[in-house]
Amino acid sequence: MATRADTRLPYGVGQAGARFFLLVAGLLVLVGLGAYAYTRQFVEGEAVTGLRDIGTMGGAPWGLYVAFVIYFVGVSFAGITVAALIRILNLEHLRPVSRMAEVLTVLALVLGAMSVIVDLGQPGRGIVNLLLYARPQSPFFGTFSLVISGYLVASMVYLYLESRKDAALCAREPGRLQWFHRLWAAGYKDTREQRERHLRASWWLSLFIIPLLVTAHSTLGFVFGLQISAFGWYGAFQPPEFLILAGVSGIGLLIVIAAAARQTLHLQEQIPKRVFTWLANFLWVLLVVYGYLMIVEVLTAIYQPHQNEEALIRTLVFGNYAWMYWLSVGLLIVPLVVLLVQSVMRRYSLPIIVASGVFVNVAAIIKRYLIVVPSQTHGRLLPYGPGAYSPTWVEYLIVLGIAAFGALAYVVFFKVFPITEVKESDGSQSLWKTSE
């Protein structure tokens, strides 16, 4: 790779030092381990996981994989929301993080799709048969067709078009990445007409992606919310809760990624602190809405519960799952309070904001797990008795491998494309002027 002195590509693009390769190597190891675990699962069947049948086996057929499907799709909330806020509400000061939010959305949806595939008993058939036979009557249809196809394609198109200008800028610079930037730019010359066309296209795109966003998260909520088979699932609160927690985890993760980018690439000027304060305020607003939905759900469930529902709640609050339940509650309340106090006192600390982002994501993962598993082991209708589920090393490695794959793709993207909009003052002003 070219050294820092030779290249004029901004924000670390094309420059890869020892630290980068070390990170890539570490992530590749995790991906490799995940791939190995998956081959074991593929050959021997999902018996190598901790998943087992409901009922006589007292197990849970949906576990860590499904929890992460919901988590990854949830995190994808960030990208298009930020893009829509910028375009439709003209919140220009969020612009510095819009590209990393869009990349997060694209990658998160890919990871969500991968998590579905590793969960299927017949994955190859899954892809083929879904295209041939998928039924709209099933809540999965929305997940498959609108989320993984529509939402993903729409976000990729949005990312592509939005970044053509910077691609054209980078394409002026000769080097190993020039072919890639040229391909991306596809003849963008930053004429007034092109800019106008782009504004129009991206406005309409953001508008149409919003219904996809709502459908994506609501459909996942419906997968659970329409089932009478288990207590703790059925209810109209699932789609809205899925949507809002998606927002919480997505914005939280975006904060973490933006802070990491800012720190490692020295982008303090390009990504000013007010971006983080805005995101932090948005985060506590979402946390308040989520808290409201949770309080409504819990009060309804404990006022006059069905016998089995009461047993399930006892398990959640006092029993086997209590430590996870209270941990997730704490990891949501603490950031809410802290961010609210920050906002009231108008004194914002970046480390606190980033820590809040981390906390809410851990809480979201735990919450997704608590939505999926306890209703299967403890919420059944017939008197089978309580069950148990704990993931095995295969499941942990596969999930870790998928997450590492996402992180890997993300850091590689950092190195092949500017992660934030290129400002004219960044030593690249010559790039435009050297053209005709």
Partner: protein, 247 residues
């Protein structure tokens, strides 16, 4: 077209679980799969306890949640009412399993050929064959594995790793005019199978003459399995002598 259903006489069932064994042999279900299951339930507090038995096949619901949620239509309801699983189309997502209120679905977590009580390919099985002339396990039912009359592959278990299976009302037997294996083998004649639309069938006569209930009726699944001869299990009923196999 027949409208198949089942009537279970709880006043006759004494919990011997022969139906579970018959189902297992007939359908080659792998280890820990119990398409037919018999609850042994205890109600009340000692010394006033009561033990009762509740056979639980698949309910073949008229408003089956499992059929509604299947993403690829592998789980479907035949015209004669049998809810079948096309193992040639199933993608193994297990949505039907979590959607079923009765917990009747079983997933092939490992290759079913490696999950029999005596592996069909093992040397021990080979050694047994000349002795028993194939009459005892390994007994691979040759009637399974093919297409049923509606062109779908829905009979029997133990076909493929990574797909779901459940009670089929022995569709491969019913299509030949036979009774399901559990019904044919119950020593107490507690299980009855027949056409609900035929007023002359034993099923219809039993239902007309007795009060019956169905499990979890209030959830509107409209099951095709009727219970008579005893009141429904109380909410305090707890399972004893559960078959906790987890393979």
């Amino acid at each position: 077209m027949a409208r198949w259903g089942m009537v279970i006489d709880l006043s006759r069932c004494y919990g011997c679980r022969a139906c579970m064994m018959a189902c297992k042999v007939e359908n080659n279900t792998p280890g820990a799969h119990f398409w037919m299951y018999v609850f042994r339930l205890e109600e009340g507090e000692y010394p006033d306890t009561q033990v009762r038995f509740l056979p639980r096949p698949c309910m073949h619901c008229d408003n089956a949640p499992c059929v509604k949620v299947c993403p690829v239509g592998a789980r479907y309801k035949r015209a004669d009412g049998i809810v079948s699983t096309d193992w040639a189309r199933c993608i193994g997502c297990r949505y039907c399993e979590v959607a079923c209120p009765y917990g009747v679905n079983y997933f092939n977590w490992k290759s079913p050929k490696k999950n029999q009580y005596l592996d069909w390919d093992s040397p021990a099985a080979e050694a047994l064959e000349p002795v028993t002339k194939g009459a005892v396990p390994p007994y691979q039912n040759p009637a399974l594995g093919g297409q049923m009359k509606d062109g779908r592959k829905t009979a029997g278990g133990g076909q493929l790793k990574g797909v779901i299976e459940k009670c089929t009302f022995c569709v491969h037997r019913v299509e030949k005019g036979l009774q399901p294996a559990c019904v044919a083998n119950c020593p107490a004649f507690a299980l009855h199978f027949g056409d609900l639309d035929d007023p002359a069938s034993q099923l219809s006569r039993l239902l007309a003459a007795n009060k019956s209930f169905r499990l979890e009726e209030a959830f509107n699944t409209r099951p095709r399995v009727y219970y008579l001869g005893a009141p429904p299990p109380s909410t305090e009923a707890r399972q004893i002598q559960a078959v906790k196999a987890r393979e």
